[in-house]
């Protein structure tokens, strides 16, 4: 690699593929930026230390199952006040836990030495979005972060088919998109009760997770897939009956009495009734379909390179997807090897989460410092102000990925205000000119503005609120 390339490549690696540099990191990265990125792929599926003690989704689901049983009993016997008090306490506890989970997740992004791994996790987690809502689905609040680790992170070094299967069989996704209650009209239960098919998950599998709207499926295919995944549900409690299948509560369970019997046709192919394998075979077909490769490649290049993704880059990733059979390590490496990724004229507007984390990294925010622990709280809350609280996207399509959305006039002004607040409160430790030199590529105008600032506070505010700091 020549010197000119290395000049900016370090910044490109840190910003495009990471969350921005911590001071001092650019020197390390610049020695071999591509290697720095590819090395991170080795340990990409390891759960970070800080998250290892968080409860698994199964634990939370079993708790929820026990609570639902107790609530039914209480509804019959206890007074309304006691029930309401318990509900309120449960809700408070679940909110407390979810806040802790989100804080830890943010902390990992801020402190990690493998930011590329975290960025890839966010990408796939957004592709397979799960979002929290209330009512019957309130349990999603405390299983969203575990879902991200269990279904997504642990498959980042595997292949797309494995991740797809893990996602569509995870209780979080089944609950989020109403498949846990979807019943085949001709199944045992369907014929006895007045409940039936719900197409929500099947539709989003086709439209969002695999083929995309251009993939050539029809309404009939949606219904067909929905039938094939009836019975894909969650066990809430251990059954008392010894022969019953639900001996492992809080997990995915295939429930034959809910399953629509018979052969179903998807995109012209027959899938014979074969228990859980019927739906699994359909998913495998979808995972390997060329339209899926095209869809995923387009999203990856859009996310990492530009809002208007260069077609040649999409084609390259698509080819790697197809030729490697959807190998995620191969796909992720191919991203690093894209020529376009190293050309600075392609840039993306940072999302609020990316923006907040890049500022925290620039300031070397660190969980071993008491002041910084409070800073983590305020950063988590800042995401509320920016409308990007994790797992609250408005739809299964997840967070948008373009400057038109995140760069509205109002949103931009809010970033500036927030950066200014941060600078006002923390700049005594930091010399903005030194910081500029450590984290930004050469920019005479910005350097001059910082030099001429009235105070260190203002200099720092100018750095973080500058237009150049908004892009990656």
């Amino acid at each position: 690699m020549n010197g000119d390339f290395l000049e900016t490549a370090g910044y490109v690696a840190a910003n495009r593929f990471g969350y921005g540099p911590r001071p001092g990191e650019i020197d390390v990265i610049s020695k071999d930026p591509k290697a720095w990125l590819k090395d991170q792929l080795e340990t990409i599926d390891q759960i970070p230390l800080a998250m290892q003690n968080l409860p698994a989704s199964q634990t939370m689901l079993v708790k929820e199952g026990a609570w639902r049983q107790e609530r039914r009993a209480m509804a019959r016997s206890a007074d309304g006040q006691t029930l309401m008090d318990r509900q309120r306490n449960n809700r408070r506890e679940s909110i407390r836990l979810s806040r802790e989970q989100l804080r830890t997740r943010l902390q990992v992004a801020i402190e990690t030495e493998q930011p590329f791994a975290e960025r890839l996790l966010r990408f796939w987690s957004n592709h397979f979005t799960v979002a929290v809502s209330g009512g019957q689905k309130a349990v999603l609040r405390t299983i969203a972060v575990p879902y991200e680790n269990e279904a997504i992170r642990s498959n980042l070094a595997a292949d797309f088919t494995s991740m797809l299967m893990a996602v569509e069989q995870h209780p979080a996704m089944l609950i989020y998109l109403d498949n846990d209650n979807s019943i085949g009209p001709n199944s045992d239960i369907g014929r006895r009760r007045d409940r039936g098919l719900n197409e929500n998950l099947a539709r989003e599998i086709l439209e969002l997770h695999t083929l995309s709207v251009k993939g050539g499926y029809t309404q009939t295919d949606v219904t067909s897939l929905a039938k094939m995944i009836t019975g894909w549900t969650v066990t809430w409690q251990r059954s008392n009956r010894p022969r019953a299948g639900n001996q492992n509560p809080g997990k995915f369970r295939f429930t034959q009495p809910m399953h629509e019997p018979g052969t179903h046709v998807l995109m012209g192919k027959n899938y014979r009734g074969n228990g859980v394998r019927q739906g699994e075979n359909a998913l495998k077909f979808l995972a390997q379909h060329p339209a899926t490769a095209r869809h995923v490649a387009t999203k990856l290049v859009t996310h990492f390179v530009a809002d208007e993704p260069p077609l040649a880059a999409i084609a390259r990733i698509e080819n790697v997807f197809i030729e490697s059979g959807g190998s995620l390590p191969a796909i992720h490496e191919a991203l690093v090897d894209l020529d376009e990724a190293w050309q600075p004229q392609f840039k993306k507007l940072k999302t609020p989460e990316e923006y907040i984390v890049s500022i925290a990294r620039a300031m070397s925010t660190n969980s071993s410092d008491g002041r910084d622990l409070r800073a983590y709280n305020s950063m988590s809350q800042a995401l509320t102000g920016f409308n990007q609280v994790p797992f609250t996207a408005n739809s299964p399509a997840g967070w948008p990925d373009d400057a038109d959305h995140w760069g509205s006039p109002d949103a931009l002004l809010k970033r500036i205000e927030w950066a200014n607040e941060i600078a006002e409160h923390s700049s005594n430790r930091l010399n903005p000119l030194d910081l500029y030199a450590a984290i930004m590529p050469e920019n005479e105008q910005l350097k001059l503005a910082i030099t001429r600032a009235e105070s260190r506070n203002q200099g720092l505010a100018l750095l973080f609120a500058s237009p150049d700091f908004q892009w990656r």
């Binding site: 019957q136 709207v213 006039p409 109002d410 500036i416 910005l446 203002q458 500058s466 237009p467």
Partner: protein, 408 residues
């Protein structure tokens, strides 16, 4: 960047630099404008507010065709009792939650269009919303929204003194209907203090060099200048509170130099499970919408007389209940038109009927009015946009969508 867009951006940059001198910078001690500002809006300038309900609002629940014999068989458990509906005539009834809308109907300030849909016939939310907002007959056929294309066509006599765009998005992001070459404003509640004048001035100089972000910042400051910092607007959950958005829209639209066009959004309409009937999930959303629109009318004051509000959704929902006491994505639905300028008190459109032979693809309400007809009519008859410009620039290739007479 395209050459014409570059030229436009350069123009904006010069304007921004000029405005550093002309327009006072935002101060953290701005006076809180009181609602008496509404008294200024006697200018006679027409206002248009578009409310987009995202998630496919169930039109058959909102305005039940109780006179249709097939309804009970299809909707059974999801239907309110007939005597709970607000009867509009011998055939249609508003959902019980819509008491304020019912009053507006009786005062001829609400018109309802039933069995209306955009040209889109698939059932993807995202493509459906895209078609609704881009204004063509299929998804992803243009980069700009139809309201953005209107911006250069709006003639406003009292707007010579301001750079602020005549169109605004109320909420944290600009929706696709307002995206395009014309700059538009956006506003959402503030929760942090503004930076000092000195910092803002320095930042504006830095931003003048960034084509994309510089124009955004200018619009934001102009909007902020219009309302000032206001503790009423502080919200711990900006973007979540429908009433805060309603209040802001009312404030902006009732100002003399305020925007002519505003767009608001509401989501949470995708009721696949446990939708409820007289009570329940959907009823709560209806109440929120009903009370919000009433609040909007109050907030607009005399401006209400010059205002048309159109409430739309990307498509309706299935005629029959699904297996989880909800409904799935459908086709035709309902649109509301309200405002002092509306010729209300009627239900527009041809009712296609709910007998199974009349359903679209055997499952959805069949559309008999094109959504674009509503939009085109409002633009021509309320905002005074020239018909040939509407048909060539705003809604090209929309001859299938006829203008409606006597709407406003």
């Amino acid at each position: 960047m395209r050459a014409d867009k570059q030229r436009e951006v350069n123009y904006k940059r010069r304007q921004l630099l000029k405005s550093l001198v002309a327009i006072p910078l935002v101060s953290s001690l701005s006076m809180i404008p009181s609602l008496s500002f509404a008294a200024y809006a006697a200018s006679g300038d027409k206002r248009f507010i578009l409310v987009i309900l995202r998630g496919a609002m169930d039109g058959l629940a909102a305005v039940a065709p109780y006179g249709d014999p097939a309804l009970t068989g299809l909707r059974g458990s999801l239907l309110p009792a007939e005597n709970e509906l607000h009867k509009l005539d011998s055939f249609f009834g508003l959902h019980p939650s819509f008491s304020n809308l019912f009053n507006l109907y009786q005062e001829s300030e609400l018109a309802i269009c039933h069995a209306v849909a955009s040209p889109y016939r698939q059932r993807s939310h995202f493509d459906g919303q895209n078609v609704l907002e881009i204004g063509l007959d299929g998804p992803d056929q243009a980069e700009s929204g139809w309201l953005n294309r209107c911006v250069p066509l709006i003639g406003q006599s009292n707007r010579k003194n301001t750079n602020a765009s005549p169109a605004m998005a109320i909420g944290p992001a600009v929706p696709a209907v307002l995206l395009g070459d014309a700059e538009v404003g956006s506003w959402a509640p503030a929760i942090l203090p503004v930076p000092s004048d000195s910092t803002m001035a320095r930042l504006q100089r830095l931003y003048s060099e960034d084509e994309f972000l510089g124009a955004k910042l200018e619009q934001a400051l102009l909007a902020r200048d219009m309302v000032g910092e206001n503790s009423m607007n502080r919200s711990r959950r900006p973007g979540q509170n429908f009433n805060v958005m309603i209040d802001a829209t009312a404030k902006f639209m009732s100002q003399e130099h305020g925007p002519a066009i505003a767009v608001m959004e509401s989501s949470g309409w995708d009721t696949h499970a446990n939708q409820g009937a007289t009570q329940g999930q959907l009823a709560r959303k209806f109440t929120e919408l009903d009370e919000g629109l009433a609040r909007l009318k109050r907030g607009l004051g005399t401006s209400w007389n010059n205002t048309v509000v159109v409430v739309v959704t990307e498509f309706g929902r299935t005629a029959a209940v699904n297996g989880t006491q909800g409904t799935d994505h459908g086709t035709a639905g309902v649109a509301f038109l309200l405002g002092g300028s509306v010729n209300g008190g009627k239900v527009l459109g041809q009712w296609p009927g709910l007998a199974s032979g009349n359903l679209f693809q055997g499952r959805d309400l069949r559309p008999t009015t094109d959504m674009r007809s509503l939009f085109k009519t409002v633009l021509r008859d309320h905002l005074g946009t020239e018909m040939n410009k509407i048909d060539s620039i705003v809604f090209p290739a929309s001859s299938a969508a006829a203008y409606l007479d006597g709407l406003v």
